[in-house]
């Protein structure tokens, strides 16, 4: 067990930013921490990294209590804070050396070379941080977080403000790291979660509203199943209407959306029905639950 959170709460001026949340993250998982702005994602991460103390409840990181063994916790975690703060007047290498010395890393020069290579900073590593583009700054932030080879990485919105190419690259970097380490990352980009996370925790108004693998959340959270059917005539609506307990919506000239409120697979029924009425089925597909929709339903 890497991260165990039990009944963690944080109260700011009578407002419950985080309200008794409980979850565990196992070794080697990449977990997406989702939620609308102000849901308590950053606050939770700040508590886990020891920046803020919890009002009540506790968190155990690699067996160390966040309330009592802060130094051990801080050494076990690599943290990329929100907005990726950096000392812009420092050189890339100088900054990494500073972080490495604070962590008392042995063989620092070699380790820095490794990190620079891993994060793809080789070309830019002689510049000042202030001269780097946003994507490269993000890499410096990641390199800083991973430098002391922590077993847990906590990344607060690691991909905000990146262009699509950088997005793909940074995601690949995170995915590569995630093979050996536990990663907890917050985001509000759904595609990102689908692309990198094994598991999703959705938080809203300080409470956890969903916690499961990406696949299960995608399938379960939406109670309805939606099938799209294309037939060779525009007169098929009446026929389709004969399926019990569904609602039908016309989406194109000869295309319908069949929405079922239960978990039955309607495809054989639809197929047989159409064949029986001497029509031709041109296409049929099931619409997969979109994470955006799930996110909307859970956090409104």
């Amino acid at each position: 067990m890497s991260i165990i959170v039990q009944g963690l709460s944080k109260v700011y001026n009578l407002q419950r930013a985080v309200d008794a949340i409980t979850f565990t993250i196992n070794k080697g998982e990449i977990v997406g921490f989702l939620g609308p702005n102000g849901a308590g994602k950053s606050t939770t991460m700040k508590i886990l990294t020891g920046y803020l103390p919890a009002t009540s409840g506790n968190a155990i990181i690699n067996g160390y209590d966040v309330n009592k063994q802060l130094d051990r916790v801080r050494s076990a975690i690599g943290y990329l804070p929100e907005h990726n703060p950096l000392y812009i007047e420092m050189y890339v290498r100088e900054y990494l050396e500073f972080v490495g010395r604070v962590h008392k890393i042995k063989n620092l020069a070699k380790r820095i070379d490794e990190m620079i290579q891993l994060t793809g900073l080789t070309v830019e590593c002689k510049k000042k941080i202030g001269q780097l583009s946003k994507g490269y700054r993000q890499r410096v932030g990641l390199a800083q977080a991973m430098l002391h080879d922590p077993s847990i990485l906590i990344l607060d919105e690691p991909t905000t403000g990146l262009d699509p190419n950088q997005l793909v690259e940074i995601r690949q970097v995170i995915k590569n790291i995630g093979r050996e380490k536990t990663v907890m990352l917050s985001t509000h980009i759904m595609q990102e979660v689908e692309a990198i996370c094994d598991r999703i925790i959705i938080i809203n108004k300080g409470k956890i509203v969903a916690d499961d693998t990406t696949q299960v959340i995608k399938n379960d959270a939406i109670k309805q199943r939606v099938f799209i059917v294309e037939v060779n005539t525009s007169q098929a609506e009446a026929i389709l209407q004969s399926i019990p307990h569904v609602s039908i919506k016309k989406v194109a000239e000869s295309k319908w959306m069949i929405i079922s409120q239960d978990q039955r697979d309607l495809r054989p029924i639809i197929f047989n029905l159409i064949v029986k009425n001497n029509l031709t089925l041109l296409s049929m597909s099931e619409q997969e639950g979109k994470l955006e929709d799930i996110f909307k339903t859970l956090t409104q």
């Binding site: 920046y51 803020l52 050494s75 804070p81 000392y87 420092m90 800083q144």
Partner: protein, 244 residues
Amino acid sequence: MIPLFKKEVNIFFSSLIGYIAIGVFLLSTWLLCWFLPGENNIFEYGFATLDSFFYWAPIIFFFLVPAITMRSFSEEYRTGTIEILFTKPLSDWHIIISKYLAAWFLLLVALIPTLVYFYTIYHLAAPEGNIDIGATWGSYIGLWFMGGVFVAIGLFASSISNNQIVSFILGFFLCVFFYLAFESLANLKIFYAKLDAIIMQLGIAYHYQSISRGVIDSRDIVYFISIMAIFLLLTHLVLNKRKW
């Protein structure tokens, strides 16, 4: 602690603050003591002392020290890098002491070139070397300790706000207050008997002048160290506010 101290010193010099602070200090003391005519001009004064330098230095420190320290915490709050520091295996005291020593070190770097003034007067004196060496060294030590107190005050001011201007103004005010206010207060007629002496001793000026005579009195040193400690404790308290 050493890497943090090094980082602070490096930032002073890579962001030009270090050079500007030292340059302005040296230029203004040189102008006031050697160039601008008037009673402070050492040539016109005619005596082989550095008194006018030691008179002006605290006044320049009022501006200089808050300017050096104003970014220490304010800038880290503003850019969010404070979160990086606080989530590394460093205690709050490590952070405060490193920043404190770095700023105090910068002040030392600014003071060292002024030994040229001392050297010059030593040779200008008639006969050569006829200068109160004890008083000069005492003054240097007093100035250095006073700078240390100002740095502690400036650091505290910086820990309060994420705006450097606010930190500067607050630091400047507190420095002036601790240097001058108690002396002026003691001069009021309402304080008499032993009370005025006690109030005077609360201010920095009294102890600075006392050390400047060339006698290093443990009471003065204890005073300077206590004021530093109080402001560093206050800084620690402010940093801990996030945990409330």
